[in-house]
C-alpha cells in the first residue's frame, strides 16, 4: 500500500516529466506512428489512401535509386566527418590558448556562420563557387589558371557542399569543444609541464583523452547532421550534376512532396531512421559513449 508520501512523490514525478513527455509524444511518437501507418498505404497526399500492406517495402528493396542515394550519403558523411570534428577542435585549441590574442573576436567571427540560415549559406557559397561568375574561379583566372568545373565534376560538387556544411557548423562545434577544454583542470597541465611534457605530447596524451566525451558528442551530432543534409544541397547543387549529390533526404523529399508518393516516402523514412539509429548505436558502442 502506497503511503501519501509515495503518492505525492509519484505525482510530482509525472508532473516533472509531463512537459517533455507531451512534446515528445506530439512531435515524435505521433508522427512516427502516422509514418508507420502511411508506409502501408498508397497515400498521395490528397485523397487516395488504400491499404497496400508491405508493397512499399518490397518496392523499396528493389529500388536501385534508393541504394544509390544511400551510398552517396554515406560517402559524403565519411568524407566530411573528419573535417567536422578536427577543424572545430583545432580552432577551439587556438582560441583557448594563452598565446593567442583577440580571442573574443576570433571566436565571434568563427561562430557567426552558425547563425546564418542554410539558405543564406547556400547563396554565399554559390557566390563563391559559381562556375560562371564565382569569386574562386575569378581568382584562379587572375593568376592564369583554368576555371574549376564546380558544377560539373561530382567530386568538386560534393566538396563544395561539404565546405559549406563545415563553414556553417564549425562555430557551433567549436563552442562545444571550448566548453570541454575549459573544464579540464589547469593543475593537470601544470603537473605535465613540471614533468617536462612538450605541448604536442600534452595535447595527444592529455587533452585529447580528456576531451573524449566531448569528441563523442561532436562526432555523433555531426554524423547525424551530415546524414540528414538537405537544405544546403538544395541551395547549392539541387542534387546535381546528374544525381551525384542527391542524398537520401532529398530522395525522400522528392518521392513524397514532388511525386506525391507519401506512402512510399514514409516507408523510406522509416527504413532510413532505423539505419541511422543503428549507426548512432554502433558509434556509441565503439566509443563507449565517450567514457574512458
Amino acid at each position: 500500500m502506497k503511503t501519501p508520501y509515495v503518492k505525492r512523490h509519484v505525482t510530482a514525478f509525472w508532473f516533472f516529466i509531463a512537459p517533455c513527455l507531451i512534446l515528445f509524444s506530439v512531435f515524435f511518437l505521433l508522427p512516427l506512428c502516422l509514418s508507420v501507418g502511411l508506409s502501408l498505404t498508397n497515400y498521395d497526399g490528397w485523397k487516395t489512401m488504400d491499404f497496400i500492406g508491405l508493397h512499399n517495402y518490397t518496392e523499396l528493396v528493389r529500388d536501385s535509386k534508393f541504394y544509390d542515394a544511400l551510398g552517396r550519403t554515406f560517402g559524403y558523411t565519411l568524407f566530411s566527418l573528419p573535417f567536422k570534428v578536427i577543424v572545430p577542435l583545432l580552432i577551439a585549441i587556438l582560441v583557448t590558448s594563452k598565446r593567442v590574442a583577440i580571442k573574443g573576436l576570433a571566436r565571434t567571427m568563427v561562430y557567426v556562420p552558425s547563425l546564418l540560415s542554410h539558405l543564406v549559406v547556400g547563396i554565399t557559397i554559390n557566390w563563391m563557387f559559381s562556375a560562371e561568375y564565382g569569386l574562386v574561379n575569378y581568382l584562379i583566372g587572375t593568376i592564369g589558371g583554368e576555371p574549376m568545373q564546380w558544377a560539373l565534376n561530382p567530386r568538386l560538387a560534393t566538396f563544395v557542399i561539404s565546405f559549406a556544411s563545415n563553414w556553417a557548423s564549425t562555430g557551433f562545434y567549436m563552442v562545444i569543444f571550448i566548453g570541454g577544454i575549459t573544464n579540464i583542470s589547469s593543475d593537470i597541465y601544470e603537473a605535465a609541464a613540471i614533468d617536462g611534457s612538450s605541448p604536442v605530447q600534452t595535447f595527444f596524451h592529455m587533452t585529447l583523452p580528456m576531451l573524449a566525451p566531448t569528441t563523442f558528442l561532436v562526432t555523433l551530432l555531426s554524423t547525424v547532421n551530415l546524414l540528414k543534409e538537405y537544405a544546403l544541397v538544395q541551395g547549392i547543387t539541387q542534387g546535381g550534376p546528374g544525381l551525384n549529390t542527391t542524398f537520401i533526404i532529398q530522395f525522400i523529399f522528392d518521392k513524397g512532396f514532388n511525386q506525391m508518393q507519401y506512402g512510399y516516402a514514409s516507408a523510406i523514412s522509416l527504413l532510413v531512421m532505423i539505419i541511422f539509429a543503428f549507426i548512432a548505436f554502433v558509434q556509441f558502442k565503439i566509443s563507449n559513449g565517450g567514457d574512458k
Partner: protein, 423 residues
C-alpha cells in the same frame, strides 16, 4: 425602480442587437478584401498586380496578395484546402489541373467563346470533363532570343519568319558564335522540359501516342533517343552544360543578359523583363528552327481559378467579369506585352522594334504540333515529371546513355500510368 431598470436593460439590449445587425449589413455591403495567390513575388511592373490595383481603385475594394512559390504549392495547397483556408483567387499553371475538385466551374459563369480556343485547350486543360476550373490569364509560348551584337561580329543575319533556320544551320551558327562571336556559349536553353521537348517534336517524336481511348508510351522511340543524343552533344560542344546536367542553380537568362550567350531558347514571359532591363547589348527575337518533322513551339501559361471554399468567391467572380472586358484586358495586355487569350484583343506596341518582335512571337503560335496536344491530353505529367527531369540530367551529365535514360523512364511511366510500351 427594479422594473424600470429591467425594462431599460431590455431596451438597451434590443437597441444593441438592431445596431449590430445594421453594422453587419453595412459590413457585407461595404468594401471587401480580395485575397489573391500568386506563384512568385510580383515586381512593380507586374501586369496582373497592377490590373488588380486598378480594379481595387475603381470598385473601392482592396486586394491582399499572398505569394506561395511554385515549388511549395504542392505541399501547401492541400493543407490550405483541408483547413478551408484558400484564397479567393489563384493565379496558377497547374493547381487547377491537379486539384480540379477544389475549384468552381467557371464555364457556368462565363461565355467561353470569348477566349482563344488554343488558350482554353492548353491552359484550362479540361481533358477529362467539361469543367472549366480556370480561365486563361497569361498566354505564353516558347521562343528564341538572339544577341544582335554577337551576330554582327560574325556577320550573321537572323532568320526570318518566312525563312527559319534548320537544326543543321542552328548548330553550325551556334558553333560559329562561340568561336568568333565574342560569347562564351553559342546557345543556351532554359532547364525546362518544355524547351527540350520542342526538339523532340520537331524531330518527329512524342511522349505518348493515342491508342483508342488510351495511350501508348513512345518516349523511348528511336527518333527520341537520337534527339537526346544530339542534345547531349550540343551540351558538350557549345551550351552551358551545367544548366542541363544539374549541379548549378544558375539561370541561363542571366547569361544572356550578360551578353555571354549567342542564341537563347526561352519563352515570351521573358520579353518584358528583357525589354526593361537589358541596356548593355542589342538583342532581338528570331523564329524557332525547323526540324525534319517541321517546326515546334509549346504553348503554356497561367490561369485564374476560384476555390470552391473561398470566403469571397463572388467577389473573385466580380473581378474576373471586370478583368475579361475588352477594355480592361487590353490594359492588362499592354502591360504584359504578351500573347492575347481573348478573341478580338491584341497587343499593338507603339515601339517599332517591339511591334516587329511581336509579329515573330505571334508566328510561333502556328507551330504548336499535334503531337504536343496529344501529349498534353494524356496528362502524363501527373505521373513522373521529376523522374523525366532526372533522366535527362543524368544523360546530359554522361552518367547514363540516352537510350538507358529514355528506356528506364518509359518503363516507369508505363508502370505508373498503365499504358503499354510501344518500343
Amino acid at each position: 425602480m427594479k422594473k424600470v431598470s429591467i425594462i431599460a436593460l431590455v431596451v438597451l439590449l434590443l437597441g444593441s442587437m438592431v445596431f449590430a445587425a445594421g453594422a453587419k449589413e453595412e459590413a457585407t455591403q461595404g468594401p471587401k478584401a480580395l485575397k489573391v495567390m500568386l506563384s512568385e513575388e510580383p515586381s512593380s511592373e507586374d501586369a496582373l498586380l497592377n490590373t488588380l490595383k486598378d480594379w481595387a481603385a475603381e470598385t473601392g475594394n482592396t486586394i491582399d496578395v499572398m505569394v506561395i512559390p511554385y515549388e511549395d504549392q504542392l505541399t501547401k495547397f492541400p493543407l490550405m484546402a483541408r483547413n478551408n483556408d484558400l484564397p479567393d483567387l489563384i493565379s496558377t499553371t497547374r493547381l487547377t489541373r491537379l486539384y480540379p475538385d477544389e475549384f468552381i466551374d467557371l464555364g457556368k459563369e462565363f461565355d467561353m467563346s470569348i477566349f482563344e480556343p488554343m488558350a482554353v485547350e492548353i491552359i484550362v486543360q479540361d481533358y477529362k470533363s467539361d469543367k472549366k476550373a480556370n480561365l486563361p490569364q497569361q498566354f505564353t509560348i516558347t521562343n528564341v532570343y538572339y544577341n544582335k551584337d554577337a551576330f554582327n561580329r560574325v556577320g550573321l543575319v537572323a532568320p526570318t519568319v518566312d525563312n527559319p533556320w534548320t537544326f543543321e544551320e542552328l548548330v553550325k551558327n551556334a558553333k560559329l558564335l562561340k568561336e568568333k562571336g565574342g560569347v562564351k556559349y553559342g546557345m543556351a536553353m532554359d532547364s525546362s522540359r518544355a524547351r527540350y521537348d520542342n526538339l523532340m517534336y520537331a524531330n518527329g517524336g512524342s511522349m505518348v501516342e493515342k491508342d483508342g481511348d488510351s495511350f501508348v508510351v513512345t518516349i523511348n522511340s528511336p527518333q527520341n533517343i537520337a534527339t537526346l543524343e544530339a542534345f547531349i552533344e550540343w551540351n558538350n560542344s557549345f551550351m552551358p552544360k551545367a544548366i542541363w546536367a544539374g549541379g548549378s542553380t544558375d539561370n541561363p537568362a542571366d547569361y544572356f543578359r550578360n551578353g555571354d550567350v549567342g542564341i537563347y531558347f526561352s519563352g515570351t514571359w521573358n520579353y518584358n523583363t528583357f525589354y526593361n532591363e537589358i541596356k548593355g547589348m542589342n538583342w532581338g527575337v528570331m523564329p524557332s528552327p525547323v526540324g525534319p518533322a517541321g517546326p515546334s513551339a509549346i504553348l503554356g501559361g497561367s490561369g485564374l481559378g476560384v476555390p470552391a471554399n473561398a470566403k469571397n468567391k463572388d467577389l473573385a467572380i466580380d473581378f474576373l467579369k471586370w478583368f475579361y472586358t475588352k477594355e480592361n484586358f487590353q490594359t492588362y495586355l499592354n502591360r504584359d506585352k504578351g500573347l492575347s487569350s481573348l478573341v478580338g484583343v491584341t497587343y499593338s506596341p507603339a515601339d517599332q522594334q517591339v511591334a516587329k518582335d511581336y509579329k515573330v512571337l505571334q508566328s510561333e503560335v502556328s507551330k504548336v504540333s499535334h503531337a504536343f496536344s496529344v501529349d498534353e491530353s494524356s496528362m502524363w505529367r501527373n505521373f513522373y515529371d521529376n523522374e523525366y527531369r532526372d533522366a535527362m540530367r543524368q544523360a546530359v551529365n554522361g552518367d547514363i546513355s540516352a537510350a538507358k535514360a529514355l528506356n528506364d523512364f518509359a518503363e516507369l511511366l508505363s508502370k505508373k500510368s498503365g499504358w503499354p510500351l510501344k518500343y
